[in-house]
Symmetry: C2
Subunit: 138 residues, 2 copies
């Protein structure tokens, strides 16, 4: 699979935004300080989050980022896919008829990875950003 610090950072940063929803735009510098992630790296992540319409930005001094939608409408899967592009357990191309190693039939493990894929996907679909923030308050 592909779950790297980039994906983790993205979720952390989004949770940070969600926790500070009433403070106007949040600058990357603030997130950087709170979450211990370099501003330059956060920039890369937020470009992608913005492309997927998960956050909106305002530029200039006092600028920063805000959630584009309520935290209750943002799924973890949205965030992960925004920055990591894909969860790929399969070795072969999903929609090709060829298996891995360019064989004409699917390999014996194909179904296993496919099911795992769905499993993980469902997990990320189920959890919303709001759930993380709630948990923190407990």
């Amino acid at each position: 699979m592909k779950l790297t610090t980039k994906g983790r950072y993205a979720v952390m940063a989004m949770a940070d935004l969600a926790s500070n929803i009433n403070s106007g735009p949040i600058s990357l510098r603030e997130i950087s300080l709170r979450q211990n992630i370099s501003v330059a790296y956060l920039e890369q992540i937020f470009i992608k989050l913005k492309k997927r319409k998960l956050v909106k930005s305002s530029r200039g001094a006092t600028g920063g980022y805000l959630l584009e939608k309520p935290a209750s409408e943002i799924r973890i899967s949205n965030i992960i896919f925004a920055v990591d592009e894909e969860v790929k357990m399969l070795n072969c191309k999903k929609n090709s008829k060829k298996g891995c190693n360019n064989k004409t039939t699917k390999c014996i493990t194909h179904n296993l990875w496919d099911e795992l894929d769905q499993h993980i996907h469902q997990f990320f679909e189920k959890v919303k950003l709001q759930d993380l923030v709630k948990k923190e308050l407990n």
Copy 2:
């Protein structure tokens, strides 16, 4: 997580063994040909599988590997952990009281990754090697 070609190859190779259970010891060369994996790479994998008592070997000409237990008693998790060592979604040390970035409290996403960990673990626990071989026959 850590699911790389090494883990995939290991499952493929074990499934290969399970499918050819009645042919005496299977050499890595045979597996190599059938599954398109280099013998030298398979060697590395089988050393680990053997350490975890998933396969047994016989040396010399006509030597090779056999499953140490029936395919119905080998879980995918056994195989994955044998070669990949760990499934780690968490950024922090699981048994440390410190969070990631050496903070004194767990980060806001800690529980999320922990739950995902368990989710994947359960999936791999549930499926047995035997299940793969059966599916192939369908």
